[in-house]
Structures are given as C-alpha cells and as structure tokens.
C-alpha cells in the first residue's frame, strides 16, 4: 500500500498568526484517516492547502503524486470534497444540485447521488434556499459520497445531522472504503472517528501532535491502580521485569499514589500479573479516543 496523501513540513502564516506550523502527514491508500483537534488547530487549513484553495507559506503536499499547488485541478479530479457546513446554490432545487455536481465532476453520477439522497430521506424537489441546514448538509453529502473519486475529504460531515442520519453517513463512509476509496475524515466527534477510522491524527496549533492506529487503540486497556505501601516490591520483582520490558505495556504514570498503565493487545495474558498488584483499588477500562485526545491536548 502506498501513501495517497503526503504532506511535508507545511507552513501557513496569516500575518503573525501561524495556522500551520510544520505540519507533516501521510495517509495510507484505502484507509479511513481521522483528523482530530480543537478549534483552530489547523485541520481545515490543512485540507484547504491540500485542495489548492490556499497556498502554503512553506512545505509541500502531494495527493496521488500530484503537487497540490501546481497541479490542483488534476488533484481535484481525483478528490471529492465536502466542506464543513457546505453551502449550495440557493436558487437550484435539490435534483438540480445533484445534476450540476454530477456533470461537473468526472467521478460523479446522477443516479448514485439520487440513491444516496433517497437513503438519507431527502426531498429533492425543494429549492435549496428553502431547505433546513440539515437538509442542505444531506444534499452536499449525496453529491460527495456518490463520487467514485480515489480520495474523499470530509470536513465535519455529520455536523447538523440527527443521530439516525449520522449512522447512515458513517455507513456510507465504510461503504466508500470498501469500494476502494481513501477517506480523510475530519471531525470533533470522537466516537465517530473511533467508529470508522483506521488511523487518526491529532493536531494542535498547526502541528501534528500524534498519529496512531485506531484499531490498536481499540485493543488497548488502561489499568489504574491506587497502590499500597509495598508495591515497589511487586514492581521490581523478577516476574514483572519481562512484562514491563515488552512494548505491550506502556507506563503512563507511576507515583506513590497512582499507577497508570496502558496494555496493548489481549488483556487476558496480563490479568494474573495485575491481580498480584498490591492495590487498594484497581480499575481496568478500554482506553478510548477521549483519553488519547485529552492526554495529547494536555501535554502539548
């Protein structure tokens, strides 16, 4: 598998404000890649740089080996992009919008778009100007997710949607992946990233803080113990050393009052060792994206 998106040391300055600060990113072809970060982290700036809407101050970016700045038209012929809060032509009716985008994009299809719209329970006869925000979002999703483009870039695709439609959109994203597309999925909703993404990256202040395998994260458990006085004996004993030396066990926190460990992979093989920990309380829970996100944002 090759990287479909390669961004190297991207910088974008707006006067003294640095929106992208040496942002580097690689997205594997065929994956669903999550883009996370607080407001103003640079997610949308990164996406807009990839599409050639804005010119980076420094660095380079390629999609399918095409330069995002110099060959942006070719890049966009391989990409279907859903902006955050997509705005459509108010004077057109729903089916007019589908016709327009199906004809504008070589990867588009009027029939597929209409099928997606039907799946999302959208009334296409209504004029866009008289549609609710959610209906407009559905219409934009129908235009984008019906595309057979190699890369789908979705910027907060489920904003303004009700829970049922959200589920449907996530299902459509999975379907697109099965059909061979790569998806760059930017969202604030951690559970969605956790549900659909294979890999994810967390951005903050224009930088990529961490990139991680979501499936690996799903198989990671966090062990939180409040140790008793004699815990160092347990920690330093011979049977503990090989366990702590493996990559499966990561020490997150180790103080007199608290031990926090992340255990990657099946937890069963470590249960016996953990049960011997001299601890007043022992809690084992799935790590979850929230923990990763919070720890990244707190540490940076």
């Amino acid at each position: 598998m090759t990287d479909i998106i390669v961004a190297d040391e991207l910088f974008k300055n707006y006067g003294t404000f640095r929106a992208l600060d040496g942002c580097s990113l690689r997205v594997l072809q065929g994956s669903v890649f999550g883009l996370l970060g607080p407001n103003g982290a640079g997610k949308t700036t990164l996406i807009r740089s990839l599409l050639g809407f804005i010119k980076p101050t420094g660095g380079s970016a390629k999609i399918l080996d095409l330069d995002c700045m110099k060959q942006s038209v070719l890049v966009r012929s391989q990409v279907a992009y859903l902006p955050a809060e997509a705005k459509l032509f108010g004077m057109m009716r729903g089916y007019g919008v589908l016709d327009f985008f199906a004809a504008m994009n070589p990867n588009g299809s009027r029939e597929r778009a209409a099928a997606v719209a039907k799946r999302l329970d959208l009334d296409l006869s209504r004029r866009v100007a008289f549609m609710s925000t959610g209906m407009r979002q559905k219409l934009a999703i129908a235009c984008v997710l019906s595309s057979r483009a190699s890369l789908l870039i979705l910027d907060e695709p489920t904003a303004n949607l009700d829970p049922n439609v959200r589920m449907e959109v996530l299902e459509l994203v999975r379907q697109s992946q099965k059909d061979g597309a790569t998806v760059l999925f930017s969202s604030h909703v951690l559970s969605e990233i956790e549900d659909v993404c294979d890999m994810a990256t967390i951005m903050q202040r224009g930088k990529v803080i961490t990139t991680f395998d979501v499936s690996e994260m799903r198989a990671t458990h966090r062990v939180i113990g409040v140790p008793k006085q004699n815990w160092t004996e347990w920690w330093n004993r011979d049977s503990s050393k090989p366990i702590l030396a493996t990559n499966d066990v990561k020490i997150i926190e180790k103080t007199e009052s608290r031990i926090v460990l992340d255990i990657v992979g099946p937890i069963q093989s470590h249960l016996r060792w953990l049960s011997e920990m001299p601890s007043e309380h022992l809690r084992i829970e799935p790590v979850g994206l929230r923990s990763v996100y919070e720890s990244c944002c707190a540490s940076s």
Binding site: I54, K55, R76, A80, P83, A86, N105
Partner: protein, 326 residues
C-alpha cells in the same frame, strides 16, 4: 463541464437580464413617443434660460431642439444608466466576492475546474448579457423612431415665378402643421455609435467590478467600492467641466470617454464618420491638439481600460487564497 457552468451562470443572469432588458426596450420607446408629442422649437425660450450651464453639456444646448439631439439624450437618462450599471455591477461583483460570501465558491472549486475557466465562463455570459441590454436600448430607439410621428410646422407656401426662378411667399395660405413620421427626420442608425459607447461604459464598469470582487470576500463592500469609484469619477468630470483651470482633470475621469450625445451631434451634423477612430481638426474638443477622437476611439478607450481591470482581476483571483466560508 463548461456547458454546465455556462448554464449555471445563465440561470443566475436571466432574471436580472429580463428585468433590465424589458425596461431598456420600453423606456426609449416611451421616451420617443413623449418627445414626439411636442414641437421642439417651442422649447427654445426654455433652453435659453439654461445657457449658463451649457459648459456642463457635451453638446450645444441648441442640439436639444432637434429630434436627433433630444433622442440622443436617452443615453444620458438615469433610467438607462441605472439599468446598465445595475446589471454590470451586480454581475461583476458576484463572480468572486459573491460566491465567496455565499460560501458556494468552496463547493464550486472543489470540482476539477481552474479558476481561470470559472472567471472566463462568467465573463462570457455577463458580457453577452450586456450586449443584449445595449441591443435592447437600440431596439427601443428603433421601435420608437419607426412607430411614432410628430407634428412639423411646414414653412409658408411659396410660388416660383416661371422664367425668373424667384420664389414668392403666398400670403393667402397659412403655414400648416403636418404629421411627419419620425423616421423621415431621424435615422436610427445614427445611434449605433452611442449604443456601442453605452456598451463600452458598461463593459468598463463590469471590468472594474470584477477587479474589486477578485480580492474581496464581501459583495456589499465590492458594490460599495465600485459605486464609490463611479461617483468619484462623476464628481471629477463635473469639476473638470466647471472652470478652465480644472479642465486638466478631464482625462482622469472615465466619463470623458462616455460621449453618446456628442457622437450624435458629430455624426449627424458635423459629418464625423460613424466608425471613425479620429479626424484632424483645427479646433479639437479633445485632449490631443490637432486630432479629434472619433466615436470608436472613445469606446475603445473604455473597453481597453475595462479589459485591463478584468485581466488584473483574473490574475488576482487565480493567485489569491480563498477564505473559508463564514
């Protein structure tokens, strides 16, 4: 792809085009009908009252006592200018700042479409619409001239004495008002250069609007800037005409190249060729000594400046960062 884009721009243009177009056909027609109801020589005393303001007029005020001149004034009517300028500013301001402000530029440029093609398609549709509007003005004039008649006072009947070639007024027959079709007094072709000049003015304003729109993200601001520039030029033009000492300001206002009334007079009465670029003159009214610019030259000046503004606007749009929709 380009066909779809053309269709989109046509759909956006048609309502405004129909509204302005119908006004621009009907207004000259109705105006000519109104003019045809009067015997113009009756206005001579009234015109005499405004002699002090003649310097602000592009033509001698006596020109307004002729049907050619009074019909030519159509091109200076606020209704005509308002319709043409509304169309040009509305279309020109919409291309970048309008789409960016509405947030639709994002979805539009997410398609494999270059910015140059986008602005070019918009330009083709808008300029074609402007051509139609100017054609509508001329059609209105043509219809007005060919469907109206006016009362013309015949000169007193006279007799020519055979063998002497003397003409003697017949005092027994009083002069009569004769209903005369306007097309025997005025040719609608006389207004073709003025119509081209109106198109040139519209094209210039369109180019200026595209330039202002190309770097902006708020359409209201673009419209404000274009109208501000227009008003500033109008004031400059009036100032240039006010006194001999301020006359040097004339070339700095684009209104100096909008001379439809003068064209009617120059072609109709001073034998200026209809499509002349210039002619040599001992007493030129223009800026270059010894040369009097012709109707085509005036229009060409506006079209060239408008094209330069359009080209700069295109360059800016193709290179700028697009702001995210708000």
């Amino acid at each position: 792809m380009l066909r779809v884009l053309l269709k989109k721009y046509l759909l956006e243009t048609v309502p405004l085009l129909l509204a302005c177009g119908s006004v621009l056909i009907l207004f000259p027609w109705v105006r000519i009908w109104t003019v045809s109801q009067f015997e113009l020589s009756g206005f001579a005393p009234l015109i005499e009252q405004f002699k002090a303001f003649e310097k602000f007029s592009p033509v001698p005020l006596a020109q307004f006592l002729t049907y050619e001149g009074i019909i030519g004034l159509t091109f200076a009517e606020p209704v005509v200018l308002l319709c043409v300028l509304t169309y040009c500013i509305a279309r020109g301001s919409d291309v970048v700042s309008g789409e960016v402000g509405r947030g639709t530029m994002e979805m539009l440029l997410a398609q494999p479409l270059s910015r140059f093609k986008l602005i070019a398609m918009h330009g083709i549709v808008s300029v074609a619409g402007l051509l139609l509007l100017c054609a509508a003005v001329w059609t209105g004039l043509y219809a007005g001239i060919n469907t109206n008649s006016t009362l013309v006072k015949q000169s007193q009947a006279s007799l020519t004495l055979p063998g002497f070639n003397w003409s003697i007024t017949n005092p027994l027959v009083s002069p009569e008002d004769v209903i005369t079709p306007l097309n025997t007094l005025v040719s609608s072709n006389l207004y073709i250069p003025s119509t081209i000049n109106l198109f040139a003015l519209g094209y210039f304003v369109f180019g200026l609007s595209v330039l202002m729109s190309s770097w902006d993200q708020y359409r209201w601001r673009t419209i404000g800037l274009v109208i501000g520039t227009y008003v500033a030029n109008l004031l400059l033009f009036i100032l240039a005409k006010s006194t001999p000492s301020t006359r040097f300001l004339m070339p700095y206002s684009f209104f100096a190249a909008y001379q439809p009334d003068w064209m009617v007079q120059a072609i109709g009465q001073d034998d200026m060729p209809m499509f002349a670029w210039y002619r040599l003159s001992e007493n030129p009214k223009n800026w270059i000594s010894g040369i009097e610019l012709g109707p085509i030259a005036y229009s060409a000046i506006l079209i060239i400046i408008g094209s330069i503004a359009y080209a700069i606007g295109t360059y800016i749009f193709c290179r700028r960062d697009l702001p995210a929709p708000t």
